[in-house]
């Protein structure tokens, strides 16, 4: 086929629909980090910083990696919210496109194939993550939470972490007949991960066994990587490990999704 690649046409249609709601979406993307950084970074962070500073030997400097709580928590919330956005964008809209609005079927009656439909939707989700992560970084900078030029790399890290959730979720959503499973995933997976993967406190605070579990979760690796960016020690071997883990998850999820999409849409 000549002309624009087929998946780009699928992406274009999501963009077209987004034009209707972009104002609200952009506003939310900026409001969310303002609220979180004000409440946690400044409000709660004030208490935490004072407490740690008053301890004999000033352990706070080492406990939080030698930075204030605001600086510590900002990358954690950045990737945590990327995870949440990715998950919600990868569940209900997928169900809607399959069953409710039947957008996918409309696309599949045109030159687009299931792989194009999938790729277009994933790219759209990645764009949403780029917007959210970019807005978050800008707000974090305004709050004084950005300490290194390497912080710009936290934007792709936000996208990468989000997509590590998005591709498996999309694969799963395409197998579902109802939305019941989505809230189970939300409550049993997403919320615990958000709270316990090192976003709000170092996982060293967890009991030993749970530390191990936390280290296996994708969000932990996203948080660690984003934090390395924001603090300016990105270039390490462990960064490579974190990125590799997340990339592998994206790839496995995309592979699974290409199978579940074909099974569901081209039967």
């Amino acid at each position: 086929m000549m002309g624009r690649p087929l998946w780009v046409r699928a992406l274009g249609s999501w963009g077209f629909r987004y034009r209707r709601t972009w104002r609200g979406s952009v506003a939310t993307s900026f409001a969310f980090p303002v609220l979180y950084l004000a409440a946690l970074g400044v409000g709660l962070g004030g208490l935490v910083n004072r407490h740690l500073a008053s301890q004999p030997g000033r352990p706070g400097l080492t406990a939080l990696g030698g930075v204030t709580y605001l600086v510590f928590v900002a990358p954690g919330v950045l990737v945590g919210s990327a995870m949440q956005i990715a998950t919600s964008e990868s569940t209900f809209p997928v169900m809607g496109a399959i069953k409710w609005q039947r957008l996918y079927e409309a696309m599949l009656a045109t030159p687009l194939r299931t792989g194009d439909v999938l790729a277009g939707h994933l790219c759209y989700i990645a764009s949403r993550l780029a917007l959210a992560s970019g807005a978050f970084l800008a707000v974090a900078a305004a709050f004084g939470a950005v300490h290194s030029p390497e912080a710009v790399v936290a934007l792709p890290v936000g996208i990468l972490t989000g997509m590590a959730f998005s591709t498996p979720m999309v694969a799963y959503a395409a197998t579902q007949e109802t939305i019941v499973g989505f809230s189970v995933v939300e409550r049993l997976v997403i919320v615990p991960l958000f709270l316990f993967s090192g976003s709000f406190f170092p996982i060293a605070q967890l009991p030993g066994a749970l530390q191990l579990v936390a280290e296996l979760t994708p969000l932990y690796h996203g948080v660690a990587l984003a934090r390395a960016c924001m603090l300016g020690h990105l270039v390490t071997l462990s960064s490579l490990g974190h990125a590799g883990y997340l990339l592998a998850l994206v790839a496995v999820g995309a592979w699974a999704a290409s199978r579940t999409y074909r099974a569901r849409l081209a039967s």
Binding site: M1, G3, S13
Partner: protein
């Protein structure tokens, strides 16, 4: 334009389409007539390269759907059985978004969209949300949308099911115009009047197989008598009436609520029924139709 040999579609162990042969010529309106579950939609989806054939060979516009899906669909318009319109977008935006899947430039899509809205008599509703349209308007919009790529072949899966008579006639009239412009149309329906009105040729499908084919006239001539007498008796007795007239008319069928007698002369058959002493609640003499063809070929009536 389309040819199939031994075309088969299986879902698990059940066979939705059980090895059918047909060939559709350029410029004709070709119908698939059959009751619920006959396999019409399964066949349409295979022709539209939206669902792979389980077995058999299929050629659409000379190409193989398993290899050239995107190329085939680029020249194909599809009106699915269930509308897949975007409810949140306006009528016009639905056309614009869809045209972009075919990689038409914004300018071309816009021009065609205006023309198609006119064709579908939806110009005044261009800015309405699809949610606010009537069923007939949505169906016309779906048809207009299928035409955005100026396809030479359009597949319409039950284009008028659920529409009121006036809305149906409007759709038929538009489809007739397309045919005059040389567009090849494939139409499925379970309305025999629709098949009779629209189709140059058709196949009658039942349980995944083709049980008859030809033009509506040929099918009626081949399988049904010239005239049909329908008799409704007040209080049952349909079986007894059938027994009494059997052998004295060409053929007789007992349906749930009536008896159909087939012969060359309806009035003579009516006189026969009266002569036997029956006092029918009502009677109807009419010409043989595709409904009778279906009954003849399958032993069941088309619309239960």
């Amino acid at each position: 334009m389309v040819s199939a040999r031994g075309l088969t579609k299986r879902f698990g162990s059940s066979e939705a389409v059980a090895g059918i042969d047909f060939s559709i010529r350029r410029g004709e309106v070709f119908g698939f007539l059959g009751p619920n579950g006959a396999g019409k939609t399964s066949t349409m989806r295979m022709i539209a390269c939206m669902s792979p054939a389980s077995e058999g060979t299929l050629r659409v516009r000379g190409l193989d759907p398993s290899r050239d899906g995107p190329t085939i669909r680029a020249g194909l318009g599809v009106v699915p059985q269930q509308d897949t319109l975007d409810m949140e977008l306006t009528v016009l935006d639905n056309l614009l978004v869809y045209g972009r899947y075919f990689d038409l430039s914004r300018r071309v899509v816009r021009e065609r969209a205006e023309r198609l809205l006119d064709f579908a008599q939806l110009s005044e509703r261009a800015g309405s949300r699809v949610d606010d349209l009537s069923g007939g308007m949505r169906r016309r919009l779906t048809i207009a949308r299928a035409l955005i790529s100026s396809p030479e072949l359009v597949i319409l899966d039950e284009p008028t099911t659920g529409l009121d008579p006036q809305a149906r006639h409007l759709v038929w009239e538009r489809l007739y115009r397309l045919r005059q412009e040389g567009v090849t149309l494939i139409v499925t329906t379970h309305y025999m009047d629709e098949a009779e009105q629209l189709c140059d040729r058709l196949v009658v499908m039942d349980k995944g197989t083709i049980v008859g084919e030809g033009s509506p006239r040929e099918l009626v001539d081949k399988h049904v008598s010239r005239e049909v007498l329908e008799v409704r008796l007040g209080e049952g007795g349909h079986e007894r009436l059938a027994g009494d007239v059997r052998g004295r008319v060409e053929r007789v069928e007992v349906l749930a609520d009536r008896v159909c007698c087939y012969g060359d002369n309806g009035d003579e058959m009516l006189a026969l029924v009266h002569g036997l002493g029956y006092q029918p609640e009502n009677t109807l003499v009419r010409r043989g139709s595709l409904e009778d063809v279906f009954l003849r070929l399958t032993g069941r009536s088309l619309v239960e």
